[in-house]
Symmetry: C2
């Protein structure tokens, strides 16, 4: 954790959030999850830039990027032997007090994550209820902000598991594709990768952006495109991409098995996670 | 806090939530705010019943009502001299571990609360983006659940203050009335009190319900009714009602001053908070 800009390391079992902190009482803050590979955190500048954007949008004067980097370095000072997930949590802090709460943690990757990356995922589409343009017109709906208020995202995941699936693709009220609860959706039509526009209020995915930046040199075109569930069924490949799991191929969508695509090894190589 | 069903009291400055607890990291849990008057918590059964419904909907096996009541009694064992707010927070607990985290706090009422109860509030209407029927069809959107993921509710409050107002009435995508970020909306047409239906995904307001239950014997009729902002402008009285602030009269709506109503003392008396 960061206290007055200084790093303080505590045992994982030691509580760190006050009962009056607005993260546990109101989900009021922002977070990022980074993959640690061979002891090195990936895409640190992209994650810290998004965390800064989230904090600014929420009106939280959080740590500087240099302070976050000191926290990351301290968390990784002891060698991490396997791949791990590093989480950064920024809270508005204790209600009524100045300042903020800034916490970092490192955890091993779950077996589920590794299995889903390797073998793909069964996905259901669930409506997020909002028309695709609702959040762009209403900044208080926190479109594009990776906030700590993720109860709906987690409830959607539970709904997916109740239906025998692993994960979710949210759709808008009109049936347009949005994103996963913790991932971006990418699909291939021929040798073109597509993803929905951030004007729908979805997060700007750091892994989706890295994948698209690497796609051109590898011979793949990229497009930002409003898509539908029908287009996913017809696509040549569908993935949920995120920082920790990487590109997980969607092998079943709303109960219909998809034919595996031979693009997945390339997409995973381009994300740098595989 | 409750630990294995036993009450443990800690100093308010002592951190109580782990960095891996799903309340601070994901807003994954539920809460209630109770008013304490003359040392006595109000509407305990109604709040504990709603907390139980929230926990069940979230799939969190929280404390029993008897355990919560022991926590409340312990928190109020030392006399509370002025009115206070007692908060109960239930978290899904530490990620990957069985169990939950259950916390209670007692704080003095803010000066703002007392001023708003006495002098009324300026309110702006903000869209919550959802069609009025979106949440009833999609339980993962957590309609009717008082979850810890309140970042949108707080952001709406900041938006109101940026516009020079005190509070918000959320509307649906079609412009129907929903609720405040931390309150129910009630309006009077003649001697009839109206409030929107819970089928819109709003919370069942414990104070609104207590007010409506007390209204009949006091000569006021009550109705559950989809309403519009235009109907609020035309109403004979408008209030945001909640457990801690009670009935706060809306004295300005979207920048238009409302004529004060002489119903407010009666409405406040019927809520038992004034």
């Amino acid at each position: 954790m960061l206290a007055d800009g200084d790093v303080r390391l505590v045992d994982p079992a030691t509580p760190v959030f006050s009962a009056f902190d607005l993260a546990p009482t109101r989900g009021d803050g922002a977070f990022e999850s980074l993959l640690v590979q061979a002891g090195q955190p990936r895409k640190v500048p992209a994650h810290l830039a998004r965390l800064r954007r989230s904090a600014t949008a929420l009106g939280i004067a959080g740590p500087t990027s240099a302070e976050w980097e000191r926290l990351i370095a301290a968390l990784l000072a002891e060698p991490v032997e396997t791949d791990a997930v590093l989480k950064l949590v920024l809270s508005r802090g204790v209600e009524g007090e100045a300042g903020y709460t800034a916490i970092g943690t490192v955890s091993p990757l779950s077996a589920d994550i590794l299995r889903q990356r390797r073998s793909g995922i069964a996905v259901v589409t669930l409506s997020l209820g909002w028309p695709a343009d609702a959040r762009a017109a209403a900044p208080w709906l926190l479109g594009g902000i990776k906030s700590l208020s993720y109860a709906i995202n987690l409830a959607a995941g539970r709904q997916a598991r109740e239906r025998g699936a692993d994960d979710v693709i949210f759709t808008s009220a009109e049936g347009l594709l949005l994103e996963g609860p913790t991932s971006s959706v990418v699909w291939a039509v021929g040798s073109t990768l597509r993803t929905p526009p951030v004007s729908t209020g979805i997060l700007a995915g750091t892994t989706q952006q890295a994948l698209f930046a690497a796609a051109g040199p590898a011979g793949l075109a990229t497009e930002t495109s409003a898509g539908t569930v029908a287009e996913l069924h017809a696509a040549d490949g569908v993935w949920l991409v995120s920082s920790v799991r990487g590109a997980a191929e969607v092998v079943a969508l709303d109960g219909r098995t998809r034919s595996p695509t031979d693009l997945t090894p390339l997409v995973q190589r381009l994300t740098g996670i595989g």
